[in-house]
C-alpha cells in the first residue's frame, strides 16, 4: 500500500516535494525533542528544554498537517508517535534528563531494529525493551505501584513511537524498493533496447542485399555483410570512410572510397531514388548495381543520413544485352534470306531482260535455299522460346534414325557443291527413343554447321552406331575447327565463336544451344571434339528404345533435365 502511494506521489513533483519537506520537518521535530531530553537539567537554563520541547512539538505538528497523506489512520499514527515522543521527552526531562537515558537508548534500538529488520525486528526489540524495563521495576526491593505504572506507560508510548518509526522506515524502504525497482526497470529497458538493437543489426546483417548508410558528412556508418559480399570491402575497411560527391573533391585518393558512385544525391524534399550504376568491386571487376537510396529522417524531420540498399544486377544486364544483341542478330538474319528471296523472285519477274534457263534455275535454287534457311531460323527461334518457357512438347516414341539422317543429307547436299557427304549408318541400327522432328532438327543443325564452318569444302561424315544402351551419332567435318577458348561455350545460348580469317559465317548463336537442349530433353547428351584447322567432330547420343530399361533411362534423364531446367 505504501508502494501504491509512493507511485502516485511520484507522478506529481509538487506533492513529492511537499511530502519530502514534511518528512524532514517531522524528523527535525523528533531530533529537537531528543536533544532536549538529552540535556541534563543541572547545566541547562530552566526554561530551555521547555522551549525546545515547544519548538519541536510545533515542528512535528506543522509537519503532520502539511503531510498530505490522505489516509487518516496514518495521521493518527504519527500524532500518536509525536505524542509518545513528547511524553517520553517530558517524563525523561522531569525525571532528571540524562540521568535516565534508557528510554532514548531503547528508542534508538527500536529505530535501528525497525530499519534493518522491519516489523519482526521491531517486535523482538520491543519484547527485549519490555522485559529489560519492567524487570528492574519488578525486582526492585523498593517496589512501588507508581513506578510500575510509569514504566508501563513509558513502554506503551515507546511501542507506539517505535511503531510509528517502523512505519516511516517501512515507507523509506518502500521508496528504496521503488527506486531499486525503477532502476531495475530501467536496466531491463536498456537490456531490451540493446537486444532490440542487436536484433535489428542481425536482421540488417542477414539481408542478402548490400545495405550501407552514410551520415550527413557522407561518412560510412553502416556496411552490412551483403555489401561486403557484393563489393568485396569489409565493414572494418568501410566504416568511417568518407564518400566524396565526386573524386576530385578528395584531397587524397585513399580518402575517397571506390563505392562513391553508389551514393545517392538525396535532397531534403526527396523521399528516395532508385537507379542503376556501374561500380567497381574491390578486385577491380566492374559490376552493375541497382541501388535504392532513401533519406533517414530524424524525429525533427531533418535528414540524418542516407540508407542505400543495392544488389548486383550485372548478370541481368548481361542477359539484357545478350537479348538485345540477339534481337538485332535475329532481325538481321531474318532480313538477309528475305532480301535474297525477294530479290531473286523480282529478278525473275523483270521485264525487258532475259536470263538463260541455267541462270533462272540457279535463281530458283537460291530462293529455295534461302527459304529453307529462313524456315530453319524460325524453327530455332521458336524452339528457344519454348525451351525458355519450359513448354517444349516432345513426341517421344520408337524412332528409326536412318531415314532422318538420309533426309538431312539429301536436303543439305543441295545447298553445296564443294562438300562430299559420307554417310555410314548401319542397316541393323536399333531404334531410339526420340521425337523424329527434333532429331531431324538436331541433325540438320549439326550438318549445316559442318558445311558452314568448312568453307573450303571437303568431307562431311555422318555416322551412327549402337553403343551399350545408346545410339551414338557423329557429324564430322574438315573445316576451320574450334579453338580451345570457345569450346566450353559453343553450346551456350547466343554464343557465337568468332573465327579469324572467316568473313561470312552467318548465324544467330542458337543452333547448338537448341541442339543441346533438344538432345538433353530426349534423354541424351551432346559433345564436341575439335582443334583449330583440323575440323570438328560433333557427337550426340540418344537412348535405345527396344528395351524397357532404355525407356526408364530416358524417363529418368527426362525428369532430371526437367528438374534442372526449373531452377
Amino acid at each position: 500500500m505504501f508502494r501504491d502511494r509512493v507511485i502516485v506521489r511520484q507522478n506529481d513533483p509538487f506533492q513529492v516535494r511537499m511530502a519530502k519537506s514534511a518528512a524532514w520537518l517531522y524528523w527535525l521535530g523528533i531530533i529537537v525533542m531528543l536533544i532536549g531530553t538529552m540535556l541534563p537539567v543541572e547545566v541547562m537554563f530552566d526554561r530551555l528544554p521547555i522551549f525546545l520541547l515547544a519548538a519541536s512539538g510545533l515542528l512535528a505538528t506543522v509537519a503532520l498537517i502539511i503531510i498530505p497523506w490522505q489516509r487518516l489512520s496514518y495521521r493518527i499514527f504519527y500524532v500518536l508517535a509525536a505524542l509518545a515522543c513528547a511524553h517520553m521527552a517530558t517524563s525523561i526531562y522531569f525525571s532528571g534528563g540524562a540521568e535516565s537515558p534508557y528510554g532514548l537508548l531503547y528508542f534508538l534500538i527500536a529505530i535501528w531494529a525497525a530499519y534493518f529488520f522491519s516489523l519482526a525486528g521491531f517486535a523482538l526489540v520491543s519484547v527485549f525493551i519490555i522485559i529489560s524495563s519492567l524487570a528492574p521495576i519488578l525486582y526492585d526491593e523498593h517496589f512501588q505501584a507508581a513506578h510500575l505504572a510509569n514504566g508501563l506507560s513509558n513502554i506503551f508510548f515507546l511501542l507506539i513511537a517505535g511503531g510509528a518509526v517502523n512505519l516511516l522506515v517501512a515507507q523509506l524502504r518502500a521508496r528504496g524498493w521503488e527506486l531499486r525497482h525503477s532502476n531495475q526497470r530501467l536496466d531491463q529497458q536498456i537490456r531490451e533496447g540493446r537486444r532490440e538493437q542487436e536484433k535489428t543489426k542481425a536482421i540488417i546483417e542477414s539481408v542478402a542485399d548490400g545495405v550501407y548508410v552514410v551520415d550527413n558528412n557522407r561518412r560510412v556508418v553502416l556496411w552490412n555483410r551483403g555489401a561486403r559480399n557484393i563489393i568485396g570491402y569489409s565493414e572494418e575497411e568501410m566504416l568511417g570512410r568518407v564518400c566524396c560527391q565526386n573524386p576530385s573533391e578528395a584531397s587524397g585518393a585513399e580518402q575517397c572510397t571506390l563505392i562513391c558512385d553508389i551514393a545517392a544525391r538525396v535532397d531534403e524534399s526527396s523521399s528516395g531514388v532508385n537507379y542503376e550504376v556501374l561500380s567497381r568491386r574491390r578486385d577491380g571487376d566492374k559490376i552493375w548495381l541497382n541501388v535504392s537510396a532513401a533519406p533517414i529522417r530524424d524525429s525533427d524531420g531533418g535528414i540524418a543520413g542516407i540508407v542505400h540498399v543495392f544488389r548486383d544486377v550485372s548478370e541481368l544486364k548481361q542477359i539484357d544485352r545478350m537479348r538485345s544483341d540477339f534481337v538485332a542478330t535475329v532481325s538481321h538474319e531474318l532480313r538477309t534470306p528475305l532480301t535474297s528471296i525477294l530479290g531473286f523472285s523480282k529478278t525473275l519477274l523483270r521485264e525487258g531482260v532475259s536470263f538463260s534457263p541455267e541462270s533462272r534455275r540457279s535463281f530458283l535454287n537460291e530462293i529455295v535455299r534461302e527459304g529453307e534457311r529462313l524456315a530453319r531460323l524460325i524453327e530455332d527461334v521458336l524452339s528457344v522460346s519454348r525451351i525458355e518457357a519450359g513448354s517444349l512438347q516432345l513426341d517421344l516414341k520408337q524412332t528409326d534414325p536412318s531415314p532422318t539422317v538420309q533426309q538431312v543429307v539429301r536436303n543439305v547436299s543441295r545447298l553445296t557443291s564443294i562438300h562430299r557427304f559420307i554417310v555410314d549408318v548401319p542397316e541393323n541400327l536399333p531404334r531410339v527413343m526420340a521425337d523424329a522432328d527434333r532429331l531431324y532438327q538436331v541433325m540438320l543443325n549439326l550438318v549445316v554447321n559442318a558445311v558452314k564452318y568448312s568453307p573450303e569444302g571437303g568431307q562431311i561424315g555422318i555416322s551412327a552406331a549402337a553403343e551399350d544402351h545408346m545410339v551414338r551419332f557423329l557429324v564430322s567435318d574438315q573445316g576451320v575447327g574450334i579453338s580451345e577458348e570457345h569450346l566450353p561455350h559453343i553450346f551456350d545460348r547466343f554464343y557465337r565463336a568468332i573465327i579469324k580469317g572467316m568473313a561470312s559465317i552467318s548465324g544467330t548463336g542458337l543452333g547448338l544451344y537448341v541442339s543441346r537442349s533438344l538432345v538433353e530433353e530426349m534423354g541424351g547428351r551432346i559433345w564436341v571434339e575439335s582443334r583449330p584447322g583440323e575440323g570438328s567432330r560433333f557427337y550426340f547420343e540418344l537412348p535405345v528404345a527396344d528395351s524397357v530399361r532404355a525407356e526408364t533411362v530416358a524417363a529418368a534423364a527426362l525428369a532430371n533435365n526437367r528438374g534442372n531446367g526449373e531452377h
Binding site: 532480301t339 525477294l342 530479290g343 523480282k346 529478278t347 535463281f363
Partner: protein
C-alpha cells in the same frame, strides 16, 4: 535515255552474303556491266590495289572490315577517293548512312531492294541515265 554503253563499266560488289552478291551480280551482268565480288573490307582493299572499278557497291555490316572502315580508307587515298560508292544497308541504319554520306558515299540502296530500282540507282550514279 541511255547515254553510254555499260559494257565498259566495271563494278565491285562488297558483301559478306554470297546470295546477295549473286543477286546483284546477276542483275548487273544482264545489263552488260562487268562485276567483281569481294566478301569483306579486307578483300575489297586487296582488290583495289590492282584494279580501279568505276563504282563500288559496299555493304556496311560486315564481320571483318566493315563498310565504314572501307569508306574511311578510300577517303584517305588519293587514287581511290574519286570512285563513287553506293552503300548497301539494312533499313533503319540511319547513323551509318549519315556517317557514310559524310565520308563521301554517293547514295545508298536499302535491303531488301527491288533489282530494277537497284540497277537504275547504279546507272544514275555512273551518269548513264538521269532519273
Amino acid at each position: 535515255m541511255e547515254a553510254a554503253a555499260p559494257q565498259d563499266k566495271h563494278i565491285l560488289v562488297v558483301d559478306d552474303e554470297p546470295p546477295l552478291r549473286a543477286l546483284v551480280k546477276a542483275n548487273l551482268e544482264v545489263e552488260g556491266f562487268r562485276v567483281s565480288e569481294a566478301v569483306d573490307g579486307i578483300e575489297a582493299m586487296t582488290f583495289l590495289v590492282s584494279e580501279k572499278p568505276d563504282l563500288i557497291l559496299l555493304d556496311i555490316m560486315m564481320p571483318v572490315k566493315n563498310g565504314i572502315e572501307v569508306l574511311e580508307e578510300l577517303a584517305a587515298s588519293d587514287s581511290l577517293r574519286d570512285i563513287p560508292v553506293l552503300l548497301l544497308t539494312a533499313k533503319g541504319e540511319l547513323e551509318d548512312l549519315e556517317r557514310g554520306a559524310a565520308l563521301g558515299a554517293r547514295g545508298h540502296i536499302t535491303k531488301p531492294f527491288d533489282p530494277e530500282q537497284m540497277v537504275r540507282t547504279v546507272k544514275a550514279a555512273l551518269g548513264i541515265v538521269w532519273l
